[in-house]
């Protein structure tokens, strides 16, 4: 098991990059001419949203791996990615609401297509865990979850396209300008923040994978030792040990 050292390196690097990104956001990037200081939320909210959606899509790609090979390690990878993306998704929605309140004066703005599309995707993925939980057979659970992950992964870009089309009349400025017309200093800060957030996601993903694998191995060990008091596996949304 080589988790230890590489994971530590990754964790330190991500923390560093993320700190640098936030430092850049506050001390280097210029004040936005239009929104002023509030725009600093952008360097947190948007990278988080991008990484969250990337995680959903990564989960879908891993799910394809399960459907192609039948190897349950892909199910675990897909599950952990979607699980973490859901957690990040909560952060995206909360910071998005705070930003909406600060810049438009209300906690929710239906005219903002990206935020609305994000909410729809988040609500879809929120069904992922209940779906898993209500299927008992681990193999079936893995396969059905994978089908869900593939469909939902394909849905994410479609959904953004459709919602944006619908709201194309009402166009707020900075939120949609993810890259296009940003001045160089802002863009640099934004890119560093995306890199840092990606690092954070990968770190947590590896950490969670290591933790799940350790639990499986412990359980397998208990079974090998013929532990009669081994409690039956708790029914859960998380994948069971691949056998």
């Amino acid at each position: 098991m080589l988790y230890g050292k590489r994971l530590r390196g990754l964790a330190v690097a991500s923390a560093l990059v993320l700190s640098v990104a936030f430092a850049l956001a506050f001390f280097y990037a210029p004040l936005d001419a239009d929104q002023g200081f509030v725009q600093k939320i952008f360097y947190l909210h948007v990278p988080m949203a991008i990484v969250c959606l990337g995680g959903f899509i990564f989960g879908g790609i891993c799910a394809i791996g399960l459907l192609r090979t039948g190897d349950r390690k892909w199910d675990l990878r897909s599950y952990v990615a979607i699980h973490l993306s859901l957690i990040l998704g909560v952060g995206v929605l909360l910071t998005g609401m705070i930003w909406a309140k600060a810049s438009w004066g209300s906690w929710w703005v239906w005219e903002e297509p990206t935020l609305v599309a994000f909410l729809v995707a988040f609500l879809l993925y929120a069904t992922y865990q209940p779906l898993r939980f209500s299927i008992e057979d681990p193999e079936k659970q893995a396969r059905y979850a994978a089908v869900f992950a593939v469909v939902a992964g394909a849905f994410v870009p479609l959904n953004f396209l459709a919602v944006r089309l619908a709201e194309s009349l009402v166009h707020p400025r900075v939120l949609t300008a993810t890259g296009g017309t940003m001045p160089g200093a802002m863009r640099l800060t934004f890119i560093v923040a995306v890199v840092g957030m990606t690092g954070l996601f990968v770190t947590l993903w590896k950490y969670e994978m290591a933790s799940k694998n350790a639990t499986f191995r412990l359980r397998a060990l208990r079974r090998r030792l013929g532990d009669d008091e081994l409690p039956p596996a708790r029914r859960s949304a998380a994948p069971a040990a691949p056998s």
Binding site: Q35, G36, H45, I98, A102, S211, L218, R222
Partner: protein, 75 residues
């Protein structure tokens, strides 16, 4: 839309970053809980192994292989 003055905007910006921080902290706390459960189970496993090889067996020099063959002789 007018830009909010700094003191007003600062509240919101701080709020957003605190949300992020809290999210990470809660996640770490949950993972810590899971880790301690893992550790507890590992401890139980340790005990189970210790019970299986009683200290007396190792102190009076019984070879585990001997015990196996003795048991097989019973059949």
């Amino acid at each position: 839309m007018p830009a909010l003055p700094l003191d007003e905007a600062g509240k919101y910006v701080a709020g957003a970053y605190v949300v992020f921080l809290l999210l990470i902290l809660v996640y770490v706390a949950i993972m810590a809980g899971r880790l301690s459960r893992l550790e507890r189970e590992l401890g139980e496993l340790d005990d189970a192994v210790a019970r299986r090889t009683p200290p007396s067996a190792s102190s009076n020099g019984h070879d585990p292989a001997e015990r196996v063959s003795a048991r097989e002789g019973d059949r």
